[in-house]
Amino acid sequence: MVVIKNIVCPICGCLCDDIEATVEDNKITKVKNSCSVSATKFLNYYKERNLSPLVRKNGELKPVSLEEAVDRTAEILMNADFPVIYGFACSGCEAQAVGVELAEEVGGIIDNQTVTCHGPSALGLHDQGMPTCTLGEVRHRADLIVYWGSNFQESHPRHLARYSASSEGRFRKGRKERKLVVIDVRKTPSARLADLFIPVAPGQDYELMSALRMALQYDDIEEESVAGLPVEQVEELAEMMRSCEFGVLFYGLGLTMSRGKERNIDMAVSLVRDLNKWTKFVIMPMRGHYNVTGMNEVTAWQTGYPYAVDLSHGYPWYSPGETTFTDLLRRGECDAALIVASDPLAHFPKNVAQNLCKIPYAVIDPHLSMTALAAEVVMPCAFTGIEAEGSAYRMDTVPLPLRKVVDPPPGINSDEQLVGMILHTIRSKRR
């Protein structure tokens, strides 16, 4: 038995780096400091698992050798006019880099789960920039913490305790020295923890942020209510934000997925920029998948763009709405795909998912998923951060090392190795 400390958790963008795991006979039997989601992963990663490569034959997925699965995947990508390499938000940066290389080799799109989480944040960032900081600075200094459209207690269960309102920092000692505001359309478990809960009307976040910007300038708001809230409450919140010493606005998919999308992010950044006339204020997206931030970083340093990059021209081309996987599928433009550690059939709208079912695609994933069940090829891989090492970027773009805690099952490779095998096979066939 061995106890391994300071493991980085491969669940969400918090990348909590204090996990302790007890390993017996190459299996994790106990875990400490985990949230409930993390504990579920660390204690169940080896269960309900497909360990055989599968290829569809006569309509059914059949076990095959890894060589056959890799070969079939290479054929699918080589025979396509416009393939998409998609996923990687639950992969290490090393696998992501090979993914970009593969997309360049086959002349396709490289895209990732950003498209259905913080894609609008990237677009807002292009327009406005983003006055931000690290989570460490929030922990040490923030006396006002605002979560907007984020149910952090269920999406990032340790965010509050490790990095924000309940954390103990150098200059702010804990919950009593900080104010917590939650703005949301539901009274979530997170909202119930707040000193002030602002129940914004669905789809009216943009209006509320506009009104807050007016209230900050002491402009008259010529309405009795805004976004379902009395104007007095808007003014009270503006005063709270203006008078703090270090404020942070953490925002979630409540802003990126709602009416306005990237315009909501423009407005949120503008609000924070305005607040910096009065005090120190920063903004940070609550990134979901543990290394979706890393995929944006890797794709950006390799192609110049954070997601939805078209490499079919021989140079990178970026045009969200045109080169995003959702839109390519909606229009029926892509004709093959490699999906890595992602389940788009379960997470894309029906009409988009239906078009994915019409094209040949391969899946690399530690688990079976709805997307795997309808694939041409399925290749099981190791869990990065448990069975394979790698690197990941926390939501504040701080890179951290992912550890190999146990060995993967015999014959199971990392996603980095599998994507590399596909790339090598394609290059060999083309020589």
Binding site: G119, V185, R186, G203, T324, L373
Partner: protein
């Protein structure tokens, strides 16, 4: 009897835990095949926890389990966790951003006595691979 609602989707703790067991596990599918409704809305339709309800939008219709919840603090708002059930009734347009509108869709809610929630293979065969 039915009522009109604004449909929201999002994370839940059970969904988060379920997906780590596997995206085709019973626990995951159970965690994402529910719909939170305001207790008053549930009462008006005579619904209790676990009853089948049909949610319909302009893009489709799906049966899930009713979950009257204190998370919904206003009547006329409903919530389904991210996952295949919610996505069977979402629209494909992205407003040129890549991002579909996963929150704020108009929907109708009605009791669906005798109807059951589809499993993962049925969702695939009846909704996606036709």
């Amino acid at each position: 009897m039915k009522f009109k609602a604004i449909l929201l989707t999002g994370r839940s703790l059970k969904q988060g835990m379920g997906k780590e067991l596997s995206k085709v596990s019973e626990k995951y599918m159970e965690s994402v095949s529910i719909c939170e409704v305001h207790p008053k809305d549930a009462e008006e339709l005579g619904l209790k926890e676990g009853d089948s309800i049909r949610i319909t939008t302009q893009f489709g219709s799906i049966v899930v389990k009713c979950n009257p919840s204190q998370n919904i603090d206003k009547p006329g708002i409903i919530f389904i966790p991210y996952g295949p059930y919610a996505n069977m009734i979402m629209g494909p347009d992205t407003d040129s951003t890549g991002m579909p509108s996963f929150k704020g869709l108009s929907a109708e809610v009605e009791p669906a006595p005798g109807e059951r929630v589809l499993n993962v293979k049925e969702l695939l065969s009846q909704h996606l691979r036709r």
